[in-house]
Amino acid sequence: MLELRDVSVGYATPGGVLPAVRGVSMRLGAGETLGLAGESGCGKTTLALAVLRLLPRTAHLSGEILLDGEDVRAMSWGRLRAVRWAAASVVFQGAQHALNPVRRVADQVAEPIRLHTPAIGRAEVRARVAALLDQVGIPARRGTAYPHELSGGQRQRVTIAMALACEPRLVIADEPTSALDVMVQAQVLSLLAGLVAARGVALPLISHDLSVLGASCERLAVMYAGRVVESGPAPAVLRAPAHPYTEALVAAAPIVGDPASRRAPRGLPGDPPDPANLPDGCAFHPRCPVRLPGCATQDVALRRVRSGHVAACVHAGPS
C-alpha cells in the first residue's frame, strides 16, 4: 500500500540545507496501523506531507515513496490530483484551521466528491455527504452549520469525513486528536479504528503521544532528529523499549493509578536538537543517559532486537 525507501527531506534556507527527514524506510499494508511517534521537529509531519507531495518548494526530497507500487515523485500533476483524496488523504491537527469558516460544512465535505466525480448528480452528492457525516457521528442536519457553530471535536470529525469522502485506501492522520479533550479524543480514535477494521484502510497515525499510539496501532516507529530510531510491534516497543529515547518517552507518560508514576514526573533533560546543528555521532547522545564514549562520533544504524523489532542504539541487540 505505502512504502518509503530511504526517504530524506531537507529544507533550503539561506544558511544551508536543514535536514528534516534523514533516510527513513517503512512499509504499510492495507488494514494496517502504524504509529509514528516523535517530538516537535523530529520530521514526522514533513514525512506525512512528503507522501502526498505537499511539501513547499524549498524542500528537497530524495529516496522513493511508493503508493500501491507507483512512485509518488514520478507522478504527473494530473495523476497526483487524482491520487490525493481518492487514493490517499490526510487528516491534520487543528481542524478549525483546515475548514473554510464561511462555508457550510456539508458543502466542504462535498467538494472533494464533486472534484473527483464531476458527473455526479446533486441528490447523490447530498446522500453521500449525509452518509459520511453520519459515519463520523454528526447528524446530517448539522451539515448546514458553519464551522464556528460546531465544537472542536465535531470540526475534527468533519475533516475526517472530508478525508474519507473519496474512499481512499490510505488515510494519514497527523496529530488528529492532540487539540481535543480526552473524551472526544477517545471518540475520534475509536472512529479511526473502526475505519481500519471495516474498510481495510491503511492508517499511519502520527502523534507525540506514545501512549495514544500504543493503544491504537499494531506497530510503532519512533523518530528522533529526522530518523527512525526504533520500530516494532507496539506492545514490544512499549514494554521493552530498546532505544533510550523510546524508554524516556514511555517513562514520560505516567500511568494513572500506578504507584511508580505517582509524584514522580519523569522527563528527559535537554531538548530535541536543532536540525541546523545536529550533534555528531548519534544525534541523541547529548541527552542519552546510557551513552558510551563512541556515541559522540559514531552513529548507529537500525539493528535487530528481535523479530520485527529494530533499534538504532549501541546497546540494542538480541537479548
Binding site: S40, D181, V182, S190, A253, I255, V256
Partner: protein, 313 residues
C-alpha cells in the same frame, strides 16, 4: 486551618452561560490541587476568578480568610502573591524582550526594583535555568519550549508568590520536556512551600503531581478528594468515564454527545443526559431523582465528596 485560597459559593456568568455555577474549593499552603475537566467545563474561568481577573457574579474568593480586595491597588497587591502560569509560554513572552527584561517586568510593575538582578538570577536559577547570567541577554526565539516555560515560571517566582495558578502548564510542551516542568512545580512546593492550583484536562498530570483532585463538569465540582482516591477509586460516573478512556484503560466508556452547553444546564443532576449509570439503571425512583433533583454544592475542603444521586450515599 484557614485555607490560603478559597472559592466560596462562586458563580461566574457570561450572559446566559453559567460558566462557574456554584463552586466551593480550598487550597491550603504547600498543597497542590489539580482542577480537572474538559474544555468548556468552566475550569479556566474559575482560575481567572481565583486570580481576581474576573469578578464573580455571586459568591466570593477569600485569600488568607479575607475577601479579595476590590480596589485596583489591593488587587495589584494580591496578584503579586497569586501568580498565573499560562498554557502557552510563547504567547506569554514578548519576542522582543530578553529573558532579563521579561522576568524584570513583573518586578517593575510591583516596584520591587532593589536588588533587581539578584532577584532575577535567583528566580531563573530556581526555575532551572543555570547559570542564570547566561540567560539574561537571550531572546525567546533562541530558547526551546521547555526553556520558555521556565522563563515564565521564573517571572512568577521573582515576585515571591505564595500561590501559583497554572493553566495547562505543560500541554503545549513536548512529552519528554513535560516531566521536567512538572518536577519543577513539585520542587518549588517542597523548597518554598508554594501552593499550586493546576488546571488540566490531563489526568496523568494530576496523578504526577497533585495532592488533591477536583473534577469539574459544566460549572460545578462533581467529585473531589485525595488524588489516590479520586483517580484510583472514582465514585462519580463522569470521573470513571474520564479514567476509562485513558490509553491504558480497560473497557473505555464513551460518553454520548459533546460536552454540553453552559447556557442550557440540564435539570436535576447536570450530568444526567450523558450518564452511563442512569442509562443502564433499572431503578425508576433513582432515575427520577437524577432527572429532577439538583445536587448540593460540594464543600471543597480537605475531605472527599461526590455529587451523584447513585454513588454519593
Amino acid at each position: 486551618m484557614t485555607p490560603l485560597l478559597q472559592a466560596d459559593g462562586l458563580h461566574v456568568a457570561f450572559g446566559a452561560a453559567r460558566a462557574v455555577d456554584g463552586v466551593d474549593l480550598a487550597l491550603h499552603a504547600g498543597e497542590i490541587v489539580a482542577l480537572v475537566g474538559e474544555s468548556g467545563c468552566g475550569k479556566s474561568t474559575l482560575a481567572r476568578a481565583l486570580l481576581g481577573l474576573r469578578r464573580p457574579t455571586a459568591g466570593q474568593v477569600l485569600f488568607d480568610g479575607a475577601p479579595l480586595p476590590t480596589s485596583a491597588r489591593g488587587l495589584r497587591r494580591y496578584r503579586r502573591v497569586a501568580q498565573l502560569i499560562p498554557q502557552d509560554p510563547t504567547g506569554a513572552l514578548n519576542p522582543r524582550h530578553t529573558v532579563y527584561r521579561s522576568v524584570a517586568e513583573g518586578l517593575r510593575i510591583h516596584r520591587l526594583t532593589d536588588g533587581e538582578s539578584d532577584r532575577i538570577a535567583e528566580a531563573l536559577s530556581r526555575a532551572g535555568l543555570r547559570p542564570p547570567q547566561r540567560f539574561f541577554p537571550v531572546y525567546p526565539r533562541e530558547l526551546s519550549g521547555g526553556q520558555r516555560q521556565r522563563v515564565v515560571i521564573a517571572g512568577a517566582l521573582a515576585l515571591r508568590p505564595r500561590i501559583l495558578i497554572a493553566d495547562e502548564p505543560v500541554s503545549s510542551l513536548d512529552a519528554s520536556v513535560r516531566g521536567e516542568i512538572l518536577a519543577l512545580l513539585l520542587r518549588l512546593r517542597d523548597d518554598l512551600g508554594l501552593a499550586a492550583l493546576v488546571v488540566t484536562h490531563d489526568l496523568g498530570v494530576a496523578w504526577s503531581i497533585a495532592d488533591r483532585v477536583a473534577v469539574m463538569y459544566l460549572g460545578r465540582i462533581v467529585e473531589t478528594g485525595p488524588a489516590e482516591q479520586v483517580l484510583r477509586r472514582p465514585r462519580h460516573p463522569y470521573t470513571s468515564a474520564l479514567l476509562s478512556v485513558l490509553p491504558d484503560g480497560q473497557a473505555p466508556v464513551l460518553l454520548p454527545g459533546d460536552p454540553p452547553d453552559a447556557a442550557r444546564i440540564p435539570s436535576g443532576c447536570r450530568f444526567h443526559p450523558r450518564c452511563p449509570l442512569l442509562a443502564t439503571s433499572t431503578d425508576p425512583e433513582l432515575a427520577l431523582r437524577c432527572r429532577s433533583v439538583p445536587l448540593p454544592v460540594l464543600t471543597g475542603d480537605a475531605g472527599s465528596a461526590v455529587a451523584c444521586h447513585a454513588t454519593g450515599r
